[in-house]
Amino acid sequence: MAGTRTEKIWRFVLAGPLVLLATLIIMAGSSLWLPEGQAQVNNFVIPVVLLPAIWAVLFFYSVLDRLGRASVVIFILTAVHAALIAQHLLQAQQ
């Protein structure tokens, strides 16, 4: 985790609160594209069960990969799921 002081602070922020936020958004957004299954529960139950795994993958990726690339990948994943959630909620309101 070597780097300048700014990089270290950004890495800390990314691996800490931002990864936690990203996990929450990805988990919630996944319920919109995962198949429901016959019982119609898989799409929202499986992301909750896998929450620790989602967080662990994002966390280790954020501390082990190059800072810039890790930031971009996590941002894209989060943004895609946030957009899915926004679209779903807007449709529900109409």
Binding site: M1, A2, L24, M27, A28, G29, S31, L32, G37, Q38, A39, Q40, V41, N42, N43, F44, V45, I46, P47, V48, V49, L51, P52, A53, W55, A56, F59, F60, V63, L64, I85, H88, L89, A92
Partner: protein, 536 residues
Amino acid sequence: MLKLQQKTTQTMLALHGWGAVIFGLLLYWVILTGTIAVFADDINDWASPLPAAIPETFPLGTDAMLRKAAADVAPEYLDELIVFATAGGRIRAFFHTHAEAEDGEHPEEKGVLFVFDPASGDILQRFEGTQSEIEAQSHYGKLGHFLVEWHVQLHVPSPWGLMLTGILGLSLLVACVSGFAMHRHLVKDAFLRRRRGGDVLSHKDAHVMASTWNLPFAFILAFTGSFYSLAGAFAIPAIAMVAFGGDQEKLIETVQGLPPAEDPRPAEMANIDAMLEDVRAAGHRTRFLTVDHWGRQDARISVFPWQAEGELLPKGYAFDAQTGENLGEKPALGQSPSLGSDLVALMGPLHFGNFAGWLSKTVWFALGFAGAYVCISGLTLWVKRREQQKTWQYLLRATLWSAWGLPLALVAAAAAYLLQQAGVLAGAVEPLMFKAFGLCLALSGILAGIVRRVTGVRRILVISLGLGLCALVALRLLLGGPGWVSAATSGLTAVVVLDVALLLGGAWLLRREWRQTLALPEEPLIDTGDMEVNTP
């Protein structure tokens, strides 16, 4: 053996070490209380036994008890009923409805709680009010509950406590993954134990060996534990908001199924004893049961048993409330079997170790205990490596305080429970347990801070704990609890087994401390950096 780049290994080492320094002590609290809470039901049976063991948790006559209670509550409290066993096999039936709390936002359960003696069918206790008012008055099962609450949310109000334990679970996950990645020789590490006194190498060997054996179990506990905490704290509300647009009724319908159409016409309830017998005949022991709309045409009854021998996943049964017909098994979630439901159901046995009775619980207890040891040995190793830096000595003192002060405070809380139950201490039991726990923890903390030599801190706390464990058994007997012969002949297994376990634990600690005292040099180091702490 994993071959990692040097930079990756350094990162893993930093995550492992600093994660432990930041979260290690609280993690130890959660792991230790969780380890003891594996036997929470047995601890409750030990603390508040009935005169004789109850062969069946819900014996014949349960139906009559519930009918007697149902006739004694206001009609609105027949809305929902949950029945489960508590300390000593007593039956706890809570007839309730969901009232709006004073803040106008959060619904709170309000009703009447009955505690029955299952042998005679007599009502032992009756409390009426909101759930929090009732819980403040009742005491059966509170000792186990006290332990469980430390484990689940460190007695911090929801959702903050759950978030805290969830983050601790995630930090344990990081420690497992980083620890595994750093292991250069996994098989060798599992057996290597160099005994060279109190040097860094022997500390490291002890920590690595215990953590290597404990690794798969710690990973499972970290995963399932953080799932339970984070799901309750924010994951389920968040997913309900997104997948169901905040429509809670739709969520409940999807998970539990459409409720039958409202039909408040009175109807005779089928015999619940027959339903319980049906579940028993299928090889199951009932854990709890629920009844919706008691005495109405739209009543529903569900029975949830423990797993039968050889079963991993828990299940539930639905019954027709009027005919008593068994409507079949209920999945944990949804109206038909699914991967999601099975995964959720799997989390329970994996986390609680309750799938094979005493055997699996004993294994879970031993592995949990090893996990607690790994926390403390890791922190001790961290300080040992920084022996020359006096600042880290404070962490060592805090570690010793937690390692021995926490179990000592739990013993004090258990003593307060016994004294309150015997009428020696007056007042609600939970505040009394908190006072005893807090007082003991504060005293041991002051001790850890003022005793000059670190070895002295450990010695006083270990001896106190050893004596405390033995004294707890003596206190139970002095306060009129069943003696060993009487307990053994009455089938009160939990009383005998836990008494023996407490005495053996206390004696082992005293003997261990005595031997370590003999092994110490006559004139040990006297500065605050003395680290002749061989093991935590």
